[in-house]
């Protein structure tokens, strides 16, 4: 029974940490827009935390380059499990227009495992909220929860 309650808590309270991995700030502003009274993601229990140690979901925007891939990996490893990663925007998903640049590694999935991709340039706040919900559906399947 306690296990069921904990699983319910996991679905109802995803805390997100946002890492800007060299984005143009377009997607970052859209991520922050989710927190405003217009979208108010706190009604789903989503809280934007500043600390990977408290977070369940890692939101990454922007391309990964050779300088910041270590930082991204470090932040991912600091998060206690179970955790999910969401790549946001064209750059986060694949490297976007910077894909062929000499210093760019590519999308977020080149460095850490990504659970959900949210495309868009920039991604709309609705799409980002949808991405977090899709990540939760994935978590539900892993936990073996129905409904």
């Amino acid at each position: 029974m306690l296990g069921n309650m904990i699983n319910k808590g996991r679905i109802k309270s995803p805390w997100v940490v946002h890492f800007d991995c060299g984005s143009c700030n377009g997607c970052d502003i859209e991520v922050l827009a989710c927190l405003t009274p217009l979208y108010d993601i706190e009604r789903f229990g989503i809280v934007n935390v500043g600390n990977p140690k408290h977070a369940d979901v890692l939101l990454v925007t922007g391309t990964v380059n050779k300088r910041n891939q270590h930082v991204l990996k470090n932040i991912y490893e600091q998060m206690p499990g179970p955790k999910a990663v969401i790549a946001i925007g064209a750059c986060g998903c694949s490297g976007g227009v910077f894909r062929e640049a000499y210093n760019v590694v590519g999308g977020v999935d080149k460095v850490i495992p990504v659970d959900v991709y949210v495309p868009g340039c920039p991604a709309r706040p609705e799409a980002i909220i949808d991405g977090v919900v899709a990540a939760l559906e994935k978590v539900k399947t892993i936990l073996g929860m129905t409904a």
Binding site: M5, I6, N7, K8, G9, R10, K12, S13, W15, P37, D40, E42, R43, F44, G45, V47, N48, V49, G50, N51, K53, H54, D56, P80, G81, P82
Partner: protein, 283 residues
């Protein structure tokens, strides 16, 4: 004796549940004041359940010990309040718990956690003299430091020491980490020093700290309730009005510096106490 044990068990079980619901209502009202919809009332419980299910990770064993002592200290002080024990003993138990929270934060070399811990010490320096003054004032009226002595009074404490209630409100704001005094860490999603004194606690240990916070909410509101000990309805109305005022203050004020907190808390606290004591003797 048996009634004391029953009261203690009730306090241990019901206090965190009440604290969680009060925190949930707090988040809902805060959201409403910010023209948002807000999370469900049970949200604090979902948060803690989730944190309990996370992978336990500690910086070192001290940190884990500190989280345990903090929650035990907070729970024990609520038990002491409900069983009508000594106010001074309650104060010391509460302090030991709070000191261990700081020690756990200082056990890690992280700068966020270090500064958070030092600011938490400054907060304790601000609210603890105020609590002692309030307890001393209660003892002046009742003639005893026992909580049970308050309930033997024929009229509420609020008539005799109204200014001390303001002092207690000041201490309450600092203790509950509400704006303008949320300088070591904030209960809401505001970020200051990442998460200040909580930064290095994670998973189940953060859940324990959250449960300790629920106990502290009940403890602080229980102390407020002592000021209207003659009737249950009056007590509930007083506590509800106080907490609502606290939420409004939290939402309309900005975070202040620790210099201001220390000066204003001690200055106002001592001034109000002196005035109240003179009035009490003049009666």
């Amino acid at each position: 004796m048996i009634s004391t044990i029953i009261l203690a068990i009730l306090a241990l079980v019901l206090a965190p549940l009440a604290g969680a619901l009060i925190t949930g209502v707090d988040r809902r009202i805060t959201a409403w004041l910010q023209s948002r919809y807000g999370p469900p009332i049970l949200q604090p419980m979902y948060d803690v359940l989730k944190l309990l299910g996370k992978e336990p990770r500690v910086v070192n064993t001290w940190q884990a010990l500190c989280a345990y002592v903090y929650v035990v200290g907070a729970a024990l002080s609520v038990v002491l309040l409900f069983t009508g024990a000594d106010l001074l003993l309650l104060f010391f138990v509460l302090t030991v718990g709070a000191v261990f929270l700081v020690m756990g934060a200082l056990a890690s070399p992280s700068p966020y956690s270090q500064i958070g811990g030092q600011r938490e010490l400054l907060q304790m320096l601000a609210y603890e003299p105020l609590l002692i003054l309030v307890f001393a004032a209660i003892a002046t009226v009742t003639g005893s430091f026992k909580v049970s002595a308050v309930f033997e009074l024929s009229r509420p404490l609020l008539y005799d020491i109204p200014l001390m209630y303001i002092v207690l409100g000041y201490a309450l704001t600092i203790k509950l980490r509400k704006s303008p005094f949320d300088i070591s860490a904030s209960q809401h999603a505001h970020q200051e020093l990442v998460r200040g004194v909580y930064t290095e606690y994670s998973g189940p240990f953060l859940a324990m700290i959250e449960i300790a916070h629920w106990y502290e909410v009940v403890l602080v509101l229980g102390l407020c309730g002592l000021f209207w000990s003659t009737g249950v309805v009056g007590m509930i109305v007083l506590v509800a009005v106080t907490y609502l005022a606290e939420i409004i203050v939290d939402n309309v004020t900005a975070r202040l510096t620790w210099h201001f907190m220390l000066k204003s808390a001690i200055g106002t606290g001592v001034a109000l106490t002196v005035v109240n004591m003179i009035w009490l003797y003049a009666q």
